[in-house]
Amino acid sequence: MEITPTEYDVIVIGTGITECIIAAACSRIGKTVLHLDINRFYGEQWSSFTLTGLENFAKEGPPSINSELFSYRHFMQNLTFKETPSGQPSQENQKLDQAKHENAQKGEKTKIQDDSESPEQINEKEETTTEAIPLKPSWTSERLQKSKRRVNIDVTPKLCYSAGRMVDLLRSSNCSRYLEFKAVNRSFVHYQGELIQAPCNREQVFNCKHLKVLEKRIMMKFVTFALQVGEESEEFLEWDKKEDMDLYRSFKLTDGLINLVRASLVVSSKETVSAHEVIRSIKHYLKNIGIYGSMPFICPIYGAGELPQAFARFSAVFGSIYVLDIAPTELSYDESGKFSGVTLQTGQKLTGKYCVVSPNYTSPSLPSPTEGLVSVSHAVYLTASSIKPKTKPGEQDDVSILHILSRCLGNPRPVSGFEFGPRSMLPAEDMYMIHLTTPGHDPTTDLESVVDKITDNTAVLYKLFFTTQMSAEGWNVDPVLDKNIIRTTFPTYCAGYSECIEEARKSFSLLYPDEEFLPAAPNPEDIKWPDEEETEELETQPQAGVEATPQEEVEEISEKLVDDLDNGATEGVAERGAVAGSD
């Protein structure tokens, strides 16, 4: 497969979100871009896998480059499909079948149990399960097998702040038209031994059954302060270099409230947070509320992996060439030591002025980043129902945030993540997906017991564990253009996308300092076609074939009117005036 053309302004290797945004920005200003990825899919650690895809991937193993000069390290490690003690994904069917069989025999077993549990526990749990959540329609191994293609698992689950950088960029570039989002509806925190809906906005505080009225006032007073205090004001500056606890105590927050605020409003993966960070975080949180719903976040339907694809499409629309399932075996440099092109696995040589490389690709002169990294453990559970089923008809359970503070449930580090409902299009129909993360190297040890505990009310259909490499929150290093190569970094371990957008923006300005970063793509109506004027009479032609009806005069006119009136918005005033006059 020969790639044409062979000369490019920018060659981008890896299709993570940062690389895709850079590619989009370059092609938008008319640069020629070649965008490559060794994988057969877009996004690398920013992608979303179907469960089938992930299982196949586990069987086949990650791709590799047969070269000493350029290599690829995969972004997911310690992948475990945990269904049986032996951990063989293939045996899971058998187990489901077995469960089904037993079900038929006993006529009471409705839940697929983890084999490691004792029979007593199983019985105990089953009783509560059958009472609490009638499984409709019950899951069978065949059904699960069929649904796997419709399950989308984020490698890096993240949310977009409703008024955040990602939303801004999507809007300002018009890239947003490729995407649809779900608003995050609920937020749960572990509070006094149970998972409760965190009061994150005024109405939730009002509705919260777990707070006393006095606590409601204290909480509202505190968050109102955080929202309204100016960052130059004395009230703010006096909290400089102070701890978060001092701040909480000064506002008379009870221990319970402190837990709630820390878990729900202070969005941070860091272990210690200063008073100033608390105020800034709450301010940011509250300012994003009410834009797309009562919570400050939205996430793309079908998973976070849609975002790099959207920017890749944007880039392609502006002429970038996309080739997947291919990688360079070597980067070449000119006599001055600067990047000059790549040699592909096919042997084809392509030239380029600049190169952008994702962190998964390394070469002797381009080692993998080592500093500021954190290993993150992931647990993904597919369940037959929500861990917090809806209690009211109007409630929506599309996306819920879960936050379990340290010390709760015996886990040493805070565990946080999401539950996705079927309408988020991440899990398949009738299915829910929990995706939790915590810093760590051994996902099963780090997370299984915690997730088992919070899912003990629902039937778990599937468990998946893996780790990924991420940048620690707050570890932001500016990109550098070295030998005409820019190396991008790992996703930051935090909620939003501002870090990678900032990285893409800075990278772009290193390449083309005087150019605008991702100006809006024109609206389709505003595009000027080569010979528009001459062909105008053809405009209504498409509708000509509609419905052959008796060609009465009236009908003819009405048909034409129908067509013409539909061609755009009515300009109200003048016409209304005409109407008024005619009455």
Binding site: E203, V213, K216, R217, K221, K392, D526, I557, E575, S582
Partner: protein
């Protein structure tokens, strides 16, 4: 390399838009002409209907066209029915396709469904067009089945979700609820869910007031607890406070006579009743017993039996100087003896020779809460707790103030001071409404003073001679003046009065001190026929017109020093001229 993208310039876009607009305008006019022509010629066909659809799609608020549409639809509906009866006509109507006649017949039910879809689509564009909602109403009336009602309710839910204060939709909902006899409980739940979504929703709170069973104290208790969550969460939200006040309720009493006063010259009787009315209550009767048969109740029974007194009573004409009024007067031609005034079940007797008769249950302009005392006390505790947390929140202060006032008809000095401090605070935290809070203070103070005065008087009628001292109270006006109708002496000096509105109720007053106010004119004193001593010194009376009202009084002593008028050349001549009975002016004998 392939063609670069060219984008239209703003000017090009403008030109294109204009062209499009012109084109559409022409089409629209043509279309409207066609519609008008067809409609006027009596056409009621589907073709006309479709034409109307196209225009309405663009201009959904075009009321006339919706009217025409209904006329056309009615005709089509009628034809639907007829066609079913008359197969021949059906065949005649068909032009070519006769294959599946049954399917092709426009079915009324289907047409209503598609019509509803059309209205819904237009509502999406303009959810506040009267004509759309009324068209929908009409459609529902065509077939108000249970399932239709259910659909309409969910439509309301949707549009109230878009805009929770869309009054068109609220109206429509009430219409549907009535039409479908929807249970109150489900409507309450709907209001609850709206409030849970956003409790700054006057409409939803108000809707509750039309649904809630306030007779059931358990319900009221739950509601009070629920609202407590709301006002603790956001004490600045007015809608919750209004609902909260509604929950506490205000007592409404049946009409009742409170007090009767006989003029010193025994020519007029003044009656104070508890409710304001625009016309004299028809049950307000005056009964007179001559001195001879005053001894027993039996006489009254006899009197009511033979009805002669009743008949005479009915001929009395009640008058009042304001409208509405609590104070009703009638002329009596010197009938002495016992006089009994009755209104419904209540009555007040004026003994022979007495000038004042008083209801024994006490008289106060203060309106109590309907909620039981213990509940109110509990609420007062909650509000006090919130007040301590939010001492600067106007709604909290206002509510607290109101509760302190209402819970204590007879106030101690400390309580009055507290009320005073709360109003001062209100003026500080909400300086835009200082005038309102001053008036509020005036009202509360007058209320308290009047209540105390009547309380003393009820115990001992002799004390009705007690003067009412309202001096140096920062009053902006005389509030509850009707309750002061029997007072003989009132001191209002050193206040902020600007006019004498309401003073006409002071029918018994003999001595009035208005010194050191900001009064421009004595207008309003006309009704004070017994006024003998008036101190109006140090006010803002500029000219002789300002004292014209005094001519109707029998003033003996008047003080006008310190008014601009007193420094003019016409003074004091103009005063002496107006007040013929005057003996002293500014302490000087005339």
């Amino acid at each position: 390399m392939h063609g670069r993208l060219k984008v239209k310039t703003t000017a090009e876009k403008e030109a294109e838009k204009k062209k499009e607009r012109e084109k559409k305008k022409a089409i629209y006019q043509k279309c409207m002409n066609k519609i008008r022509g067809l409609f006027m010629s009596g056409d009621r066909s589907v073709v006309l209907l479709n034409l109307i659809t196209k225009v309405l799609e663009n201009i959904p608020e075009f009321g006339t066209l919706w009217n025409w549409r209904r006329i056309v639809l009615l005709e089509i509906f009628r034809e639907c029915v007829e066609e079913k009866c008359n197969e021949d006509e059906l065949l005649a109507m068909k032009t070519t396709e006769k294959d599946n006649e049954v399917d092709k017949t426009p079915n009324k039910a289907d047409m209503i469904i598609s019509e509803k879809l059309f209205v819904a689509r237009c509502l999406e564009v303009n959810p506040k067009a009267y004509s759309l909602w009324s068209h929908r109403r009409w459609l529902v009336e065509q077939d108000p089945s249970e399932s239709v009602i259910k659909e309409e309710l969910s439509l309301c839910n949707l549009f109230l979700k878009y805009d929770e204060r869309n009054f068109h939709c609220w109206d429509y909902r009430r219409f549907i609820v009535t039409l479908g006899s929807i249970k109150t409980q489900s409507e309450l739940e709907m209001s609850t869910s709206l409030i849970e979504r956003n409790f700054s929703n006057y409409s939803a709170w108000h809707y509750r007031t039309t649904l809630l069973d306030t007779e059931n104290m358990g319900v009221v208790r739950d509601e009070l607890e629920w609202t407590q969550n709301a006002y603790f969460t956001d004490p600045s939200d007015q809608s919750v406070w209004l609902y909260y006040q509604w929950l506490l309720g205000r007592e409404v009493q049946g009409d009742k006579v409170l007090a009767v006063y006989r003029d010193s010259d025994n020519s007029t009787i003044h009656v104070l009743i508890n409710n304001l009315t625009y016309t004299p209550p028809s049950q307000l009767l005056i009964k007179r017993m001559s001195n001879t048969d005053e001894n027993t109740d039996e006489n009254k029974v006899q009197n009511s039996d033979d009805n002669t007194d009743e008949n005479r009573a009915n001929t009395v004409t009640w008058k009042s100087s304001t409208s509405p009024s609590r104070l009703w007067s009638c002329d009596i031609s010197n009938f002495g003896g016992h006089v009994t005034i009755t209104l419904g079940d209540s009555s007040v007797t004026l003994s022979d020779g007495a000038t004042l008769g008083v209801d024994k249950e006490g008289i106060s302009p203060l309106v109590k809460y309907t909620a039981p005392r213990d509940l109110v006390e509990e609420q007062l505790g909650n509000i006090r707790e919130l007040y301590e947390l939010e001492p600067d929140n106007k709604w909290v202060i206002l509510t607290y103030l109101d509760m302190v006032n209402t819970c204590n008809p007879h106030k101690s000095k400390e309580q009055i001071t507290e009320i005073r401090n709360l109003t001062v605070k209100l003026c500080h935290v909400d300086s835009m409404r200082t005038g309102f809070y001053r008036d509020l203070w005036t009202k509360l103070l007058c209320e308290t003073a009047v209540t105390a005065w009547w309380s003393n008087t009820s115990r001992d009628v002799i004390r009705s001679r007690d003067p009412l001292n309202l001096s140096k109270k920062y009053l902006t006006k005389l509030a509850h003046s009707d309750y002061m109708f029997a007072l003989h002496e009132v001191d209002l000096s050193h206040n902020n009065l600007t006019s004498l509105t309401g003073f006409s109720s002071l029918v018994a007053v003999e001595k009035l001190n208005l010194s050191n106010n900001k009064i421009h004119s004595l207008e309003g004193l006309e009704g004070c026929k017994n006024l003998k001593e008036l101190d109006a010194s140090h006010n803002q009376i500029h000219n002789a017109c300002g004292i014209l009202a005094c001519t109707k009084c029998r003033l003996r002593a008047l003080h006008l020093v310190g008014n601009p008028l007193a420094a003019t050349s016409v003074y004091p001549a103009c005063v002496v001229q107006s007040c013929s009975m005057l003996c002293t002016l500014d302490d000087r004998e005339l």
